[in-house]
Symmetry: C2
Subunit: 117 residues, 2 copies
């Protein structure tokens, strides 16, 4: 079982085209996961619109995060965190192409227990 | 407001003898905080015995963590995480004396809303 956030990630080894999502903890109204991105971004025109809140920190790599209600993209570097309230529409514009981008996401509130990610 | 986990910490600047606790997010049954230790440890014979769960990851520095039900201390390095269930008695044996130790703690479950840490 994964016990270190910087340990090897299946996506980087198996399929560099695919992002990796690993659940680290699941409790009522709480799900903590590690996400590893390898240059992926949200599809053009796609916005995440989640019924629950998500507190997320970038720990390695870098990424551009956009919020529909903001004019300019936020660039996240290691250690940067942001709280995304329920139904706050956002998208990942880009992630680092040279270094795996490691995210730690804390999903909270009313979670869809059937959702995989 | 703090927006980066590795940004300067008040304890390191103001009082090197004191650990720093900063709340990053508070929601029903959830509290996320950054803790910065500067060589501190739990008092001799003291055990944390929390009514709620705590998922914690060490992001910088190092520390020795003991659980009452385990024979040997766990040494945590950057990226190492552990889930501490409610009433799982534990203590911090030591933290790095040369490098500030940065913890990210996710407290979950039935929280004492009056507790500061």
């Amino acid at each position: 079982m994964l016990a270190n956030l910087f340990s090897p990630y299946s996506a980087a080894i198996g399929d560099p085209e695919r992002e990796s999502f690993e659940e680290l903890l699941r409790r009522p109204n709480l799900r903590i996961e590690r996400i590893v991105s390898m240059g992926q971004s949200s599809s053009p025109g796609f916005w995440y619109d989640q019924p629950h809140g998500e507190w997320v920190v970038l720990l390695q790599g870098s990424a551009g995060l956009s919020f529909e209600h903001e004019q300019t993209e936020r660039v996240l570097r290691p250690g940067d965190f942001v709280d995304i309230p329920p139904h706050c529409r956002h998208r990942v514009e880009w992630t680092d192409r040279d270094t795996p981008t490691i995210w730690l996401a804390v999903h909270y509130g009313t979670l869809d227990e059937n959702a995989v990610t």
